[in-house]
């Protein structure tokens, strides 16, 4: 893909556009930990072979790696989902004092509406908190243009720049004019040792604090003239006076779509704000609104300028914005009765996401349910084990929290009999190891179950230290969960195959009852990752099925109630959907009546699983 130089026009997602901009801007290093909706940024950067890129073990490390590259004078990028920036906040805030040598851009992909996240924090606040410039693209073209601009700003002001996208920017696609697409050439890097700038001991940090404030003053003046703010006139005549809307990001698109009668001040840089531009705009309209996705970040700054901002009767605050919500505001602004919004039918069965047929996590959750254990959970596909019928997870907080949570409950003399932490392999490497060391050091007795499916499944199968392969496709040292556990001092480390339900149950029972810390590694490759399966689809012998429902407690989507074999309304026999069954044989093990078997004349089928 390198050395492209034709004039190019492509349909790109926001994430793909950011990757293209990184290439065009001459970025030499990119680091990230996968997280929806940010994951595809690094996956696409990896397509450009001349950028060094990596899945770092977590976001803090990713940013620290990017900072190292900036120290060396190289342009660098760190990408993460919004909650990832919490993890990386420590290096961010201090690096703002130090400042960038090579341009450094951090992409925070926020997830308002929580499509695939545990909270909907608005990370624009963190740009203000760290005192660094903040750009908010409104479509893929702006993702491309703003990342390119961000590198110039970063090097001009010697500051890291935060790009804040939201789900409908990251995962929406639109046309991008890439121009004459090529890679910006970089001169030789030169590193100059300057400890007063880069060694943040208090004596130097106090000076850098002042330097940062001075840069912010310059940035305020820069923002005033920044070319990516713009004022747009209405496209329809207004009958309700001159209305002004200040907006940013994807909210701009909804305003354009639904509020054709308003004047728009579309902000490209939302920290620091172009104060005089905002004052002038406010003075030019009769009524001023601020429409932004997430917190009242711009609005509170505008209010702090002493300007009056209209408050919509129906708040736009919580959740994701969309055209329907802007219609409500449009009706309010135009003094119309609210139009009814068509609503979905409510009486049809839901289709929630479920653990896949053959998912190895099922074996562990089935055992934990039988053990009536209190299970502190973590972030990943296995959060689906919290729901009926497995119902075997008590909490989910953040990456790595399960281990500390379990330890804390145990130390608080929790009277429940059995406490376990459940954490995926990628999450364990991300931030489980320190928690495990803590449990051992502080003489805890909780059991940590590592669900090792050999990949980062939730975000679409990225490599991690346990897979033995890097983002750039190179073979590397394969980290061993067992060795790490023993290394931090766990004496009881057991590995089980979760497809073997009885051994899994017995092992977990033994380790949960042990008055010492222990680690159980449940190892079985993600079923979606086993691209080719040679397994036999099972079937139910209806003459043997007693409709006891034991197999249904596995929560496998391939096991269905078979209406034709109904005994009575409450006891219904089951059948196995041959299209969904992958032959994991867990259901065969739970059937006391031996009704689930390989069908007679079964062929070993080999097929690709999506």
């Amino acid at each position: 893909m390198s050395n492209m130089s034709s004039v190019d026009r492509k349909v790109l997602s926001g994430n793909e556009a950011i990757a293209h901009a990184a290439y065009a801007s001459g970025v030499q290093l990119a680091a990230a930990y996968p997280g929806t909706p940010s994951t595809e940024i690094l996956e696409n950067i990896a397509q450009f072979r001349d950028i060094y890129c990596e899945w770092s073990v977590n976001e803090k490390v990713a940013l620290e790696v990017a900072i190292g590259a900036s120290f060396a004078g190289a342009r660098a990028l760190a990408a993460m989902k919004h909650v990832g920036l919490n993890v990386a906040l420590d290096p961010l805030v201090t690096f703002a004092y130090i400042g960038a040598t090579g341009g450094l851009v951090i992409v925070s992909a926020d997830d308002p509406g929580m499509h695939s996240s545990q909270n909907e924090q608005d990370n624009r606040a963190l740009a203000k908190f760290a005192r660094i410039p903040l750009l908010e693209p409104a479509d893929s073209q702006e993702c491309f243009d703003m990342v390119c601009a961000a590198y110039e700003i970063s090097e001009q002001f010697e500051l890291p720049v935060l790009i804040r996208t939201t789900t409908r920017i990251s995962h929406s696609s639109s046309i991008v004019e890439l121009g004459v697409f090529g890679r910006r050439s970089r001169g030789d890097l030169h590193y100059t040792k300057d400890i007063a700038r880069t060694v943040m001991v208090p004596m130097f940090a106090r000076q850098r604090r002042l330097a940062l404030e001075a840069k912010l003053e310059e940035l305020r003046a820069f923002s005033q003239e920044f070319a990516m703010h713009r004022i747009e006139p209405p496209t329809c005549e207004s009958h309700t006076g001159k209305i002004g809307v200040i907006t940013s990001g994807v909210a701009y698109q909804y305003v354009k779509e639904e509020l054709p009668t308003v004047w728009i001040l579309k902000l490209g840089m939302s920290f620091p704000l172009p104060e005089q531009k905002i004052r002038d705009f406010a003075a030019s309209v009769d009524r001023l609104y601020v429409v932004e996705e997430g917190d009242p970040f711009i609005e509170e700054q505008v209010l702090a300028m002493g300007l009056h901002v209209e408050q919509p009767k129906v708040s736009l605050r919580i959740g994701e914005l969309n055209p329907d919500r802007l219609k409500v505001l449009a009706d309010e602004i135009n003094g119309r009765e609210p139009r009814p919004v068509p609503s979905p039918v409510s009486d049809i069965p839901a289709r929630p996401p479920v653990l896949c047929p053959g998912c190895a996590h099922r074996g562990v959750f089935y055992a934990l349910n039988r053990l009536k254990a209190t299970v502190l959970g973590d972030i990943g596909c296995y959060s689906l084990g919290a729901f009926e019928p497995l119902y075997a997870m008590d909490s989910i907080v953040c990456m790595g929290a399960s281990i500390g949570n379990a330890h804390g409950m145990q130390k608080a003399d929790y009277k429940g009999e059995r406490i376990a932490a459940v954490i995926g392999d990628s999450t364990f490497f991300h931030s489980g190891i320190t928690g495990l060391l803590n449990t051992v050091y502080n003489k805890g007795t909780s059991t940590v179950i590592v669900l090792d499916n050999r990949t980062t499944a939730m975000t679409g199968h990225q490599d991690h230290p346990g897979t033995g392969r890097t983002l750039m496709g190179e073979e590397t040292v394969e980290a061993s969960v067992e060795d790490i556990a023993r290394g931090v001092g766990v004496r009881h480390v057991v590995t089980v195959d979760p497809y073997d339900l009885e051994t899994t149950y017995k092992t977990l029972k033994e380790e949960l009852d042990r008055e010492e810390p222990s680690v159980v590694v449940s190892r079985r490759e993600c079923i979606l990752r086993c691209r080719t399966q040679t397994r036999c689809v099972l079937s139910v012998d209806e003459t043997l099925c007693k409709a006891c429902g034991a197999c249904l407690r596995l929560g496998c989507p391939a096991i269905e109630i078979a209406d034709t074999y109904q005994i009575d309304a409450r006891r219904r026999k089951v059948r196995i959907n041959p299209v969904l069954c992958v032959g994991c044989r867990m259901c065969e093990q739970v059937c006391k009546f031996k009704a689930i078997n390989e069908p007679p004349n079964a062929k070993q089928i080999q097929r690709r699983i999506k």
Binding site: R9, K10, V11, T36, P37, T39, E40, H115, S116, D139, T167, R168, H171, S172, S173, S174, I175, V250, Q253, Y254, K256, E257, E258, N322, P323, D324, K327, V341, P342, S343, P344, V345, D347, I348, P349, A350, R351, P352, P353, V354, L355, C356, C381, L384, E388, P389, M458, T459, G460, L552, G555, P557, I559, E560, I561, R572, N577, K610
Partner: protein, 198 residues
């Protein structure tokens, strides 16, 4: 054709909806139109309900389509058609794969499959076209091409010549699968054309 056409593609995770919407975007790009597509990745792909929206026109702002403003609903599964029927405009068209995929709530006995689904769909949708996409794909020997059958059906409603569609498909489908995908596209397209000429 009016200035902007709004298409919602819905179905179940793993049915190839994202590829179908990517091809649709490529058709728009090749035709010199503006286009936006919106979809959500992540948890929903684990057998959950999936939606992707594509808007094509001279100038597109919002990547999302307001409820009640979808011109064409392409449903890869029958129950999902009813779930998203409210997205359609009063004069909208639904192209629905006749295939039924039971959600886990039904297969596990927690909820019942609606027994009057076809009738409810006919009530909810003004212009309803049922398409046996699974059977058509099976006849072609590859059930994975349901998405191209549905795309072929959709192509009849989008004012673009067939060559642009073929070019877009060739741009996005793996070369070794191009032939069966093009056949699936043609089969879906012809199915609607025959229906219209009846």
């Amino acid at each position: 054709m009016k200035d902007t056409i709004n298409i919602s593609l819905v179905g179940v995770g793993g049915q190839g909806i994202l590829l179908a919407s990517d091809i649709l975007c490529q058709v728009a790009l090749l035709s010199g139109k503006d286009v936006k597509k919106s979809e959500v990745h992540g948890m929903a792909q684990r057998g959950g309900s999936v939606i992707s929206q594509v808007r094509i026109g001279e100038k597109i702002y919002s990547p999302l389509i307001a409820a009640g403003e979808t011109d064409i609903l392409v449903s890869f599964e029958k129950l999902e058609a009813l779930r998203y029927a409210h997205l359609l405009s009063c004069d909208g068209t639904a192209l629905v794969n006749k295939q039924e995929i039971k959600p886990v709530t039904v297969s596990s006995g927690q909820a019942d499959w609606p027994n009057n689904l076809d009738e409810r769909l006919r009530t909810a949708v003004r212009h309803l076209r049922m398409i046996p996409a699974l059977e058509i794909a099976q006849d072609l020997g590859d059930t994975r091409v349901i998405n191209l059958v549905m795309l072929g059906a959709l192509s009849v409603y989008i004012d673009q010549n067939k060559d642009v569609w073929r070019e877009a498909i060739a741009d996005l489908v793996k070369p070794q699968l191009l032939d069966v995908n093009l056949k699936a596209f043609d089969a879906g397209r012809n199915y609607i054309k025959h229906m219209q000429s009846d």
